[in-house]
């Protein structure tokens, strides 16, 4: 069972992010939770494409290569990381504007001040 430890790490990070989204009341902590969810999805993709003893899929000065890690999950994870960076920049900008408008970061306070 210890061989499947990376899958367990994916599950733990996923639930940490879900807990932060559901129970925290600070908007910054909710943003951290969303980033944790993205990190768990990326880690899951990378873990699925691993082969034991495989090297990185780059041929420059590779030496004696027996097997290589699958390249397609790595390419798609690269895409996902850049999109996650763009969305988190937009998310933090919106949080900054909310703080300027309401003067607080508490979700309950913002809901109470509606209107």
């Amino acid at each position: 069972m210890t061989g499947n430890l990376p899958f367990l790490a994916v599950g733990i990070i996923f639930f940490m992010g879900m807990y932060a989204i559901l129970f925290e009341r600070n908007l910054i902590k909710i943003a951290i939770g969303i980033t944790l969810l993205e990190a768990s999805a990326n880690l899951f993709l990378i873990v699925l494409g691993y082969r034991t003893g495989g090297s990185i899929p780059v041929f420059t000065l590779a030496g004696e290569v027996r097997s290589m890690v699958l390249p397609t999950p790595q390419a798609l994870t690269l895409t996902a990381i850049v999109i996650g960076l763009a969305t988190s920049a937009l998310l933090l900008s919106l949080i900054m504007l909310l703080y300027r408008h309401y003067g607080t970061l508490d979700v309950r306070e913002i809901r109470r001040l509606r209107g």
Binding site: V58, L61, G63, E64, L78, S93, M96, R100
Partner: protein
């Protein structure tokens, strides 16, 4: 806010230029070593972050206006799309330069080798284009979020207190 100490400013000055050169290395060697346009562009944008932290926004904007970064970003995206369209005689995004000789078309040996810099055809061109786009975009995001933080202190938004003298 108190201005940052002279130690922080000196270290940030030194490592900002190191980060710029290292990021450009990652972009140019994107088809030989791990890395590429996105990663190298993010590393170059770290240079803007260092200068912003140590000297404040006025020093960075005295180098180049925001329009300069916006132009870099748009030029990168346009070069990328144009390179995609140029291969349209076969398919969209066809690699029409690979293996033809010339500046980008050296033929690489099969199997593990020591790498040839002027190979890989349009992949190298697209690496540089995407690197330009990421440099401009991330620098713009950093500059404008820094301006947004400064707007809290005084609603006029122009002057920065302390932090750069």
């Amino acid at each position: 806010m108190n201005p940052l100490s002279v130690v922080v400013r000196t270290i940030c000055d030194v490592f900002a230029w190191f980060m710029g050169i290292y990021g450009i290395y990652i972009i140019i060697h994107g088809h030989l070593t791990p890395g590429g346009g996105f990663q190298g562009g993010a590393v170059v944008a770290t240079m803007a972050a260092f200068l912003l932290v140590s000297h404040g926004g006025k020093k960075l904007l005295s180098f180049a206006k925001p329009g300069f970064y916006s132009g870099i970003e748009t030029a990168g995206l346009l070069i990328f799309i144009t390179t995609g369209f140029l291969g349209l005689s076969a398919t969209f995004f066809y690699n029409f330069l690979a293996g033809r000789g010339g500046l980008f078309g050296a033929v690489v040996p099969i199997g593990p080798n020591s790498g040839i810099l002027n190979s890989a055809g349009t992949i190298s061109v697209m690496n540089m284009a995407v690197g330009l786009e990421v440099i401009g975009g991330l620098s713009l995001i950093l500059i404008y979020m820094f301006k947004g933080i400064r707007l809290f202190d005084d609603q006029t938004g122009g002057s920065e207190t302390g932090h750069d003298r």
